[in-house]
Symmetry: C2
Amino acid sequence: MSTIARQAFQPDPNCALIPQTVPLQLSGERFRIIYRLGGTEEEARARARDICLEQTVEFPDELVPTGPIRDHIIGRLEYFETRGEGVHQAAISFPVETTGDDLSQLLNVVMGNISLKPSIRADNLELPPSLLDRFRGPRFGRTGLRELTGAAQRPLVSTALKPMGLAQADLAELAYRFALGGIDLIKDDHGLTNQTFSRFEERLARCTEAVAQANRQTGMKSLYLPNVTASPAEMIRRARLAKQAGAGGLLVCPGICGLDAMRAVADDDATSLPIMAHPAFQGSFVVRPEEGFSHGLLFGLIARLAGADATIFPNFGGRFSFSRQQCREIAAAAEAPLGSLRSIFPAPAGGLTLSRVCEVQQVYGRELVILVGGGLFKHGPDLIENCRTFRKLAEQFY
Amino acid sequence: MSTIARQAFQPDPNCALIPQTVPLQLSGERFRIIYRLGGTEEEARARARDICLEQTVEFPDELVPTGPIRDHIIGRLEYFETRGEGVHQAAISFPVETTGDDLSQLLNVVMGNISLKPSIRADNLELPPSLLDRFRGPRFGRTGLRELTGAAQRPLVSTALKPMGLAQADLAELAYRFALGGIDLIKDDHGLTNQTFSRFEERLARCTEAVAQANRQTGMKSLYLPNVTASPAEMIRRARLAKQAGAGGLLVCPGICGLDAMRAVADDDATSLPIMAHPAFQGSFVVRPEEGFSHGLLFGLIARLAGADATIFPNFGGRFSFSRQQCREIAAAAEAPLGSLRSIFPAPAGGLTLSRVCEVQQVYGRELVILVGGGLFKHGPDLIENCRTFRKLAEQFY
């Protein structure tokens, strides 16, 4: 073995088969993951012990050699509490070094292999500064989006270009009317990508120009956000094209492209556009309370780590199944202290109508993007007037 | 509006607010998704209707204008059947054009927004040749991996470098012993990425050389597969480094990096290495039977579309919760006809021991990668001998 120093075999009382020739160096700094565990207390404690192994050494306990790997790499149960019938909470800490240098491996430690086991949900993350410092987070956040749109105090209003199948000229016409009506964030429907009936580059050019034209007429600052979700290289290419074309932001579905891929777009200095994150394909992580992630962790904290400036989620009481409490959790996580990472806007959506615009402001306050899609077409016979009504409803308290 | 022809407003009896100036052109070709739906028959039928809208126009039914969008873009319920108490099956077809030109958008049509709604699971995909032709699929597949390893008939044997925290020299020493013992596929544990205790490039160099050295001694063809899961650009960079260094393949976790990102690595001509797909972070898609994907669809058909040559999953009866039937489904989907896409190896894992190697061959047959991790350390006091025993168990019937 030319390049590898052959080491004397070091027998170990626990497992003689694993060579350990170089001592492990760790900083001693750890981060914590709060898990919700199901089952009896005994089952839940077994799950907690299992997480400690499964997310690090992935080795049967009896095979882990004594020494620093056993003492420090393996997850450590920091506390365990029974919260109710079959519901327990455990905090487990891991060395910051296990997460390597990227979001991908952090996600892997949080929910890699154990995603395959029932009754384990990640509820929260407590990350020390040294780990948070590795993430730039949202490039714009609330402050940046307020500057870009000129909405100093009020909630931002947003809608989507749809339905899928509409010709480019018609999508641009819709974008134009939305912008004339004062919609701040006009995003592609997440189903519009690069189809024969709506090629990305043509849609980008037409809709960007349509919104710019309306802005010239109104003096307002509507932003057009094309959907750039695609394979990794294509997504970066489309994001840069969007910047060059003068688009105002981007729509990204991190459930499809990967959270770290969204982060790469957010961190790309050649793009530098605000990002609305769309929850498509992420539902299986939250649709059951027993597994996956808490709503706040996935759509709040993790969305921020992954660079979203606004996080779209289905509002309670609409055609999806999120509860009011789950939505509040997302809003709280969107602004909870997170090192130097910016606060982001919660963007409730999913069947909202203008009749609910007051209610959502009562629930979420003004740090909010209100996303009304189809509902905007239902309000009255004039789309531009409907948009103006929507905006007035968002301005009324400010 | 300089670049956009302003069109006369075309009132429509269903919805006067949506401009439709250019007729939609579609090929007429459709693909089908088979869904499992929960609830009463009435509820399940409502879910099926909902999927038709939600996955395409994302518009309330009454707002969808008459004409080609209503007639063709919206999903079409092709059949509906009640299979049992609260279990129904529906086949819904969509125009191939809705999927755009990439895997990302195909996944979006299959399970985008509706992932956020309970009691909807995607069970299977029926893709016409025109859609399948867009995917290269596995670059090597079963035949390619058999050629690379020289295993003409028998199941391939595989193991993982671990535990996390081991020094590079020790990981290389393990790789060397595994290869001396005749392990075909020696992969990084999926938790090894680029950590201070195991930097990717150094691990790649050391383990590649260790396996090459063993191959020179034995005349066998063990392959080392480093884990390249990372952010998109870094993943491609690491994959190319792996090729340049002479590694034998790659380990990728598509649940973390995104399925289309794995496909991009598989399609990268500058890499051209076989891929083992690891199921980390994908558990929430399969851990409940009511939502997400069937095991065969996610770990079989979709893994093939995304370029995996072998698909790792937790075997039944181990420390995970997959059933024998679910594992059989994966194996079936790994070889079911799929246009010109290659068959791939099912790679059951997750707590397998040498005592179960005969049983897995009885269940899966010989078209199989048997992945034994920690179990290889338990069998006896000599790791190389344990590997030889493992390989003999895989050779015994051939």
